[in-house]
Amino acid sequence: MDAVQLAIEEQVFEQHRHHSKSTFFWVWGALLVMTGIEVFLAYQNMEPIRMLSILMGLSIIKAALIIAYFMHMKFEVSTMKWLTMASLVFCLAMMVVFLPDAFRILHLGVR
Protein backbone atom coordinates (compact mmCIF):
# COMPACT_ATOMS: atom_id res chain seq x y z
CA MET A 1 0.00 0.00 0.00
CA ASP A 2 1.02 3.61 -0.56
CA ALA A 3 3.24 4.83 2.30
CA VAL A 4 1.19 8.02 2.58
CA GLN A 5 -2.00 6.00 3.05
CA LEU A 6 -0.38 3.93 5.80
CA ALA A 7 0.89 7.06 7.54
CA ILE A 8 -2.55 8.70 7.38
CA GLU A 9 -4.16 5.53 8.76
CA GLU A 10 -1.72 5.50 11.67
CA GLN A 11 -2.47 9.17 12.34
CA VAL A 12 -6.23 8.45 12.41
CA PHE A 13 -5.73 5.44 14.73
CA GLU A 14 -3.64 7.60 17.07
CA GLN A 15 -6.63 9.97 17.34
CA HIS A 16 -8.86 6.99 18.21
CA ARG A 17 -6.48 5.93 21.00
CA HIS A 18 -6.91 9.32 22.66
CA HIS A 19 -10.72 9.14 22.85
CA SER A 20 -12.10 8.26 26.24
CA LYS A 21 -14.30 5.16 26.17
CA SER A 22 -16.63 6.74 28.73
CA THR A 23 -17.67 9.34 26.10
CA PHE A 24 -19.12 6.55 23.96
CA PHE A 25 -21.10 5.21 26.92
CA TRP A 26 -22.45 8.70 27.65
CA VAL A 27 -23.52 9.13 24.01
CA TRP A 28 -25.18 5.71 24.04
CA GLY A 29 -27.02 6.60 27.26
CA ALA A 30 -28.15 9.94 25.84
CA LEU A 31 -29.45 8.21 22.69
CA LEU A 32 -31.44 5.70 24.76
CA VAL A 33 -32.89 8.47 26.96
CA MET A 34 -33.96 10.50 23.92
CA THR A 35 -35.59 7.37 22.44
CA GLY A 36 -37.51 6.94 25.70
CA ILE A 37 -38.67 10.58 25.53
CA GLU A 38 -39.84 10.05 21.93
CA VAL A 39 -41.90 7.00 22.90
CA PHE A 40 -43.39 8.89 25.86
CA LEU A 41 -44.36 11.78 23.56
CA ALA A 42 -46.03 9.41 21.10
CA TYR A 43 -48.71 8.70 23.73
CA GLN A 44 -49.35 12.34 24.69
CA ASN A 45 -52.11 12.93 22.13
CA MET A 46 -50.39 16.06 20.85
CA GLU A 47 -51.28 18.01 17.75
CA PRO A 48 -49.49 16.17 14.86
CA ILE A 49 -47.45 19.14 13.58
CA ARG A 50 -46.20 19.93 17.08
CA MET A 51 -45.33 16.30 17.77
CA LEU A 52 -43.61 15.96 14.38
CA SER A 53 -41.49 19.05 15.12
CA ILE A 54 -40.38 17.72 18.52
CA LEU A 55 -39.71 14.19 17.22
CA MET A 56 -37.72 15.47 14.24
CA GLY A 57 -35.77 17.84 16.51
CA LEU A 58 -34.82 14.91 18.77
CA SER A 59 -33.98 12.74 15.74
CA ILE A 60 -31.66 15.40 14.35
CA ILE A 61 -29.88 15.66 17.74
CA LYS A 62 -29.57 11.85 17.84
CA ALA A 63 -28.24 11.77 14.26
CA ALA A 64 -25.73 14.52 15.07
CA LEU A 65 -24.46 12.56 18.11
CA ILE A 66 -24.06 9.38 16.03
CA ILE A 67 -22.25 11.19 13.22
CA ALA A 68 -20.04 13.25 15.55
CA TYR A 69 -18.94 10.57 18.03
CA PHE A 70 -19.68 7.10 16.66
CA MET A 71 -18.77 8.00 13.07
CA HIS A 72 -15.84 10.11 14.25
CA MET A 73 -16.82 13.19 12.24
CA LYS A 74 -16.13 15.54 15.18
CA PHE A 75 -12.45 14.66 14.91
CA GLU A 76 -12.12 14.96 11.11
CA VAL A 77 -10.55 17.98 9.41
CA SER A 78 -12.88 20.89 8.65
CA THR A 79 -12.80 20.27 4.84
CA MET A 80 -14.23 16.80 5.41
CA LYS A 81 -16.86 18.02 7.89
CA TRP A 82 -18.17 20.89 5.79
CA LEU A 83 -18.02 19.33 2.34
CA THR A 84 -19.82 16.13 3.33
CA MET A 85 -22.40 17.53 5.73
CA ALA A 86 -23.24 20.69 3.73
CA SER A 87 -23.73 18.74 0.48
CA LEU A 88 -25.89 16.16 2.27
CA VAL A 89 -28.12 18.75 3.95
CA PHE A 90 -28.43 20.69 0.68
CA CYS A 91 -29.46 17.62 -1.36
CA LEU A 92 -31.98 16.44 1.27
CA ALA A 93 -33.41 19.95 1.59
CA MET A 94 -33.91 20.12 -2.19
CA MET A 95 -36.42 17.27 -1.89
CA VAL A 96 -38.77 19.62 0.01
CA VAL A 97 -39.69 21.01 -3.41
CA PHE A 98 -42.16 18.11 -3.83
CA LEU A 99 -44.04 18.80 -0.62
CA PRO A 100 -46.32 21.67 -1.82
CA ASP A 101 -47.68 19.25 -4.43
CA ALA A 102 -48.78 16.90 -1.63
CA PHE A 103 -50.72 19.75 0.01
CA ARG A 104 -52.22 20.66 -3.39
CA ILE A 105 -53.64 17.12 -3.78
CA LEU A 106 -55.52 17.58 -0.49
CA HIS A 107 -57.44 20.54 -1.91
CA LEU A 108 -58.18 19.09 -5.36
CA GLY A 109 -61.88 18.83 -6.07
CA VAL A 110 -64.00 17.08 -8.69
CA ARG A 111 -64.12 18.97 -11.96
Binding site: V4, L6, W28, I66
Partner: protein, 266 residues
Protein backbone atom coordinates in the same frame (compact mmCIF):
# COMPACT_ATOMS: atom_id res chain seq x y z
CA UNK B 1 -4.31 23.18 4.09
CA UNK B 2 -2.03 23.10 7.14
CA UNK B 3 -4.44 20.91 9.06
CA UNK B 4 -4.41 18.13 6.48
CA UNK B 5 -0.67 17.86 5.97
CA UNK B 6 0.82 14.52 7.05
CA UNK B 7 3.77 15.26 9.34
CA UNK B 8 6.11 12.34 8.71
CA UNK B 9 9.07 11.48 6.58
CA UNK B 10 7.29 8.77 4.58
CA UNK B 11 5.17 11.39 2.84
CA UNK B 12 8.14 12.26 0.68
CA UNK B 13 8.18 8.71 -0.69
CA UNK B 14 4.89 9.22 -2.55
CA UNK B 15 4.48 11.20 -5.75
CA UNK B 16 0.95 12.16 -4.67
CA UNK B 17 -0.26 15.08 -2.61
CA UNK B 18 -1.66 14.39 0.89
CA UNK B 19 -5.39 13.72 1.08
CA UNK B 20 -7.62 16.79 0.88
CA UNK B 21 -9.88 15.23 3.51
CA UNK B 22 -7.08 14.36 5.93
CA UNK B 23 -7.95 10.69 6.03
CA UNK B 24 -7.27 7.52 4.08
CA UNK B 25 -8.90 6.68 0.75
CA UNK B 26 -11.01 3.71 1.92
CA UNK B 27 -12.72 5.88 4.49
CA UNK B 28 -13.40 8.68 1.98
CA UNK B 29 -14.82 6.07 -0.40
CA UNK B 30 -17.18 4.76 2.27
CA UNK B 31 -18.29 8.28 3.18
CA UNK B 32 -19.08 9.01 -0.47
CA UNK B 33 -21.13 5.81 -0.67
CA UNK B 34 -22.97 6.69 2.54
CA UNK B 35 -23.77 10.17 1.21
CA UNK B 36 -25.31 8.66 -1.92
CA UNK B 37 -27.15 6.03 0.13
CA UNK B 38 -28.56 8.68 2.46
CA UNK B 39 -30.17 10.26 -0.61
CA UNK B 40 -31.84 6.90 -1.35
CA UNK B 41 -33.29 6.81 2.16
CA UNK B 42 -34.03 10.54 1.99
CA UNK B 43 -36.11 9.96 -1.14
CA UNK B 44 -37.98 7.07 0.50
CA UNK B 45 -38.67 9.11 3.65
CA UNK B 46 -39.91 12.03 1.54
CA UNK B 47 -42.12 9.63 -0.44
CA UNK B 48 -43.58 8.42 2.86
CA UNK B 49 -44.11 12.03 4.00
CA UNK B 50 -45.69 12.95 0.64
CA UNK B 51 -48.11 10.03 0.91
CA UNK B 52 -49.00 10.92 4.46
CA UNK B 53 -49.59 14.61 3.78
CA UNK B 54 -51.68 13.98 0.67
CA UNK B 55 -53.86 11.27 2.30
CA UNK B 56 -56.44 12.65 4.76
CA UNK B 57 -57.39 9.30 6.37
CA UNK B 58 -53.85 8.08 7.04
CA UNK B 59 -54.06 4.95 9.23
CA UNK B 60 -52.57 4.66 12.73
CA UNK B 61 -52.24 0.87 12.97
CA UNK B 62 -49.44 0.52 15.52
CA UNK B 63 -50.79 -0.75 18.83
CA UNK B 64 -48.71 -0.69 22.01
CA UNK B 65 -47.31 -4.15 21.21
CA UNK B 66 -45.88 -2.86 17.91
CA UNK B 67 -44.46 0.24 19.59
CA UNK B 68 -42.85 -1.90 22.33
CA UNK B 69 -41.36 -4.15 19.65
CA UNK B 70 -40.02 -1.18 17.63
CA UNK B 71 -38.59 0.44 20.79
CA UNK B 72 -36.75 -2.78 21.60
CA UNK B 73 -35.44 -2.89 18.01
CA UNK B 74 -34.18 0.69 18.43
CA UNK B 75 -32.43 -0.23 21.70
CA UNK B 76 -30.73 -3.18 19.96
CA UNK B 77 -29.50 -0.95 17.12
CA UNK B 78 -28.21 1.74 19.49
CA UNK B 79 -26.41 -0.89 21.57
CA UNK B 80 -24.91 -2.38 18.41
CA UNK B 81 -23.44 1.04 17.59
CA UNK B 82 -21.77 1.13 21.00
CA UNK B 83 -20.31 -2.37 20.55
CA UNK B 84 -19.14 -1.37 17.05
CA UNK B 85 -17.27 1.65 18.42
CA UNK B 86 -15.65 -0.63 21.01
CA UNK B 87 -14.70 -3.04 18.19
CA UNK B 88 -12.97 -0.20 16.30
CA UNK B 89 -11.13 0.76 19.49
CA UNK B 90 -10.02 -2.85 20.03
CA UNK B 91 -8.81 -3.05 16.41
CA UNK B 92 -6.80 0.16 16.77
CA UNK B 93 -5.26 -1.11 20.04
CA UNK B 94 -4.40 -4.43 18.37
CA UNK B 95 -6.56 -6.53 20.74
CA UNK B 96 -7.64 -9.23 18.28
CA UNK B 97 -9.70 -11.30 20.70
CA UNK B 98 -11.66 -8.28 21.96
CA UNK B 99 -12.14 -7.10 18.38
CA UNK B 100 -13.75 -10.38 17.38
CA UNK B 101 -15.90 -10.43 20.51
CA UNK B 102 -17.24 -6.88 19.95
CA UNK B 103 -17.88 -7.56 16.27
CA UNK B 104 -19.82 -10.71 17.15
CA UNK B 105 -21.79 -8.73 19.78
CA UNK B 106 -22.64 -6.14 17.11
CA UNK B 107 -23.77 -8.90 14.75
CA UNK B 108 -25.89 -10.45 17.53
CA UNK B 109 -27.66 -7.11 18.14
CA UNK B 110 -28.19 -6.67 14.38
CA UNK B 111 -29.58 -10.20 14.08
CA UNK B 112 -31.94 -9.55 17.01
CA UNK B 113 -33.14 -6.41 15.19
CA UNK B 114 -33.81 -8.40 12.00
CA UNK B 115 -35.69 -11.15 13.87
CA UNK B 116 -37.87 -8.65 15.76
CA UNK B 117 -38.55 -6.75 12.55
CA UNK B 118 -39.42 -9.99 10.74
CA UNK B 119 -41.86 -10.85 13.53
CA UNK B 120 -43.46 -7.41 13.21
CA UNK B 121 -43.84 -7.78 9.44
CA UNK B 122 -45.27 -11.31 9.78
CA UNK B 123 -47.86 -10.14 12.32
CA UNK B 124 -48.95 -7.23 10.11
CA UNK B 125 -49.17 -9.44 7.01
CA UNK B 126 -51.17 -12.09 8.90
CA UNK B 127 -53.60 -9.37 9.99
CA UNK B 128 -54.14 -8.28 6.40
CA UNK B 129 -51.78 -5.32 6.02
CA UNK B 130 -50.00 -6.62 2.96
CA UNK B 131 -48.86 -5.88 -0.58
CA UNK B 132 -50.28 -7.50 -3.75
CA UNK B 133 -46.83 -8.99 -4.46
CA UNK B 134 -46.77 -10.90 -1.14
CA UNK B 135 -48.31 -14.43 -0.99
CA UNK B 136 -51.67 -14.59 0.81
CA UNK B 137 -51.36 -16.05 4.32
CA UNK B 138 -53.91 -18.62 5.53
CA UNK B 139 -56.53 -17.66 8.11
CA UNK B 140 -58.80 -14.69 8.38
CA UNK B 141 -57.20 -11.25 8.33
CA UNK B 142 -58.67 -8.57 10.58
CA UNK B 143 -61.20 -6.42 8.74
CA UNK B 144 -59.50 -3.23 9.92
CA UNK B 145 -56.07 -4.05 8.48
CA UNK B 146 -57.41 -5.54 5.25
CA UNK B 147 -59.43 -2.36 4.80
CA UNK B 148 -56.33 -0.20 5.33
CA UNK B 149 -54.45 -2.16 2.65
CA UNK B 150 -57.34 -1.58 0.20
CA UNK B 151 -58.40 1.99 0.99
CA UNK B 152 -54.92 3.49 1.65
CA UNK B 153 -52.51 1.39 -0.45
CA UNK B 154 -49.89 4.15 -0.03
CA UNK B 155 -49.45 3.06 3.58
CA UNK B 156 -48.35 -0.58 3.07
CA UNK B 157 -46.41 0.41 -0.09
CA UNK B 158 -44.31 3.08 1.65
CA UNK B 159 -44.12 1.18 4.96
CA UNK B 160 -42.84 -2.08 3.44
CA UNK B 161 -40.67 -0.21 0.92
CA UNK B 162 -38.93 1.93 3.52
CA UNK B 163 -38.56 -0.62 6.32
CA UNK B 164 -37.72 -3.39 3.83
CA UNK B 165 -34.90 -1.32 2.35
CA UNK B 166 -33.60 -0.66 5.85
CA UNK B 167 -33.87 -4.35 6.82
CA UNK B 168 -31.87 -5.23 3.70
CA UNK B 169 -29.17 -2.76 4.76
CA UNK B 170 -29.02 -4.25 8.28
CA UNK B 171 -28.74 -7.76 6.79
CA UNK B 172 -25.90 -6.64 4.51
CA UNK B 173 -24.27 -4.98 7.54
CA UNK B 174 -24.38 -8.19 9.60
CA UNK B 175 -22.88 -10.14 6.66
CA UNK B 176 -20.21 -7.46 6.12
CA UNK B 177 -19.19 -7.60 9.82
CA UNK B 178 -19.25 -11.42 9.70
CA UNK B 179 -16.72 -11.38 6.85
CA UNK B 180 -14.50 -8.85 8.65
CA UNK B 181 -14.64 -10.84 11.91
CA UNK B 182 -14.42 -14.42 10.65
CA UNK B 183 -13.45 -14.21 6.94
CA UNK B 184 -13.75 -17.64 5.21
CA UNK B 185 -15.11 -19.26 8.39
CA UNK B 186 -18.23 -17.11 8.03
CA UNK B 187 -19.28 -18.75 4.73
CA UNK B 188 -20.50 -22.09 6.24
CA UNK B 189 -22.22 -20.11 9.03
CA UNK B 190 -24.01 -17.99 6.44
CA UNK B 191 -25.05 -21.11 4.51
CA UNK B 192 -26.41 -22.56 7.76
CA UNK B 193 -28.35 -19.37 8.43
CA UNK B 194 -29.76 -19.52 4.90
CA UNK B 195 -31.01 -23.08 5.44
CA UNK B 196 -32.51 -22.20 8.84
CA UNK B 197 -34.21 -19.07 7.49
CA UNK B 198 -35.53 -20.91 4.43
CA UNK B 199 -36.79 -24.00 6.23
CA UNK B 200 -38.08 -22.27 9.36
CA UNK B 201 -40.29 -19.77 7.53
CA UNK B 202 -43.64 -20.90 6.08
CA UNK B 203 -44.04 -20.89 2.29
CA UNK B 204 -46.52 -17.96 2.40
CA UNK B 205 -44.01 -15.71 4.21
CA UNK B 206 -42.05 -13.17 2.11
CA UNK B 207 -39.00 -14.20 4.18
CA UNK B 208 -39.21 -17.75 2.76
CA UNK B 209 -38.03 -16.39 -0.59
CA UNK B 210 -36.10 -13.48 0.91
CA UNK B 211 -33.86 -16.00 2.70
CA UNK B 212 -32.25 -16.81 -0.67
CA UNK B 213 -30.51 -13.45 -0.41
CA UNK B 214 -28.24 -15.15 2.18
CA UNK B 215 -27.32 -17.82 -0.37
CA UNK B 216 -26.50 -15.17 -2.97
CA UNK B 217 -24.42 -13.32 -0.38
CA UNK B 218 -22.51 -16.53 0.48
CA UNK B 219 -21.70 -17.04 -3.22
CA UNK B 220 -20.61 -13.40 -3.63
CA UNK B 221 -18.41 -13.57 -0.49
CA UNK B 222 -16.80 -16.82 -1.67
CA UNK B 223 -15.87 -15.20 -4.98
CA UNK B 224 -14.56 -12.03 -3.31
CA UNK B 225 -12.45 -13.91 -0.73
CA UNK B 226 -11.16 -16.26 -3.44
CA UNK B 227 -10.13 -13.38 -5.70
CA UNK B 228 -8.72 -11.23 -2.91
CA UNK B 229 -7.91 -13.14 0.28
CA UNK B 230 -6.69 -10.78 3.00
CA UNK B 231 -6.43 -10.18 6.72
CA UNK B 232 -8.61 -7.21 7.59
CA UNK B 233 -6.73 -4.41 9.35
CA UNK B 234 -8.05 -1.67 11.68
CA UNK B 235 -8.89 0.60 8.74
CA UNK B 236 -11.22 -2.08 7.34
CA UNK B 237 -12.91 -2.37 10.74
CA UNK B 238 -13.36 1.40 10.96
CA UNK B 239 -14.83 1.56 7.44
CA UNK B 240 -17.23 -1.32 8.24
CA UNK B 241 -18.15 0.57 11.40
CA UNK B 242 -19.09 3.66 9.37
CA UNK B 243 -21.55 1.57 7.37
CA UNK B 244 -23.00 0.05 10.52
CA UNK B 245 -23.49 3.42 12.23
CA UNK B 246 -25.19 4.73 9.10
CA UNK B 247 -27.76 1.93 9.30
CA UNK B 248 -28.40 2.92 12.93
CA UNK B 249 -28.61 6.60 11.94
CA UNK B 250 -31.28 5.99 9.30
CA UNK B 251 -33.44 4.10 11.81
CA UNK B 252 -33.37 7.20 14.07
CA UNK B 253 -35.63 8.84 11.43
CA UNK B 254 -37.69 5.82 10.41
CA UNK B 255 -38.69 4.95 13.98
CA UNK B 256 -40.40 8.28 14.87
CA UNK B 257 -41.72 9.05 11.38
CA UNK B 258 -43.21 5.66 10.59
CA UNK B 259 -44.01 4.14 13.99
CA UNK B 260 -44.43 6.91 16.57
CA UNK B 261 -46.37 9.22 14.24
CA UNK B 262 -48.78 6.35 13.49
CA UNK B 263 -49.34 5.18 17.07
CA UNK B 264 -52.79 3.90 17.94
CA UNK B 265 -53.80 5.68 21.16
CA UNK B 266 -56.73 3.99 22.88
Amino acid sequence: MADVAVPHAAAGASPYEPSLFGTYSKKIGMWLFLLSDSLTFGALLWAYTYGRVSTPNWPTPFHSESIRNATLMTAFLLTSSLTMVLAVRAAVDGRTKALRMWLLATMACGTAFIILHGREWSNLIAEGLTLPMFPTPPGHPSAEFADVAKSVPQFPATFFGLTGMHMLHVTIGVIYLGVVALRKKFIPILLGLWLVAWLATPAYSPFHYGAHFLLLAAIAISIILWLKPKVYDPSDVEVAGLYWHFVDLVWMFIFPLVYLMSTRIV
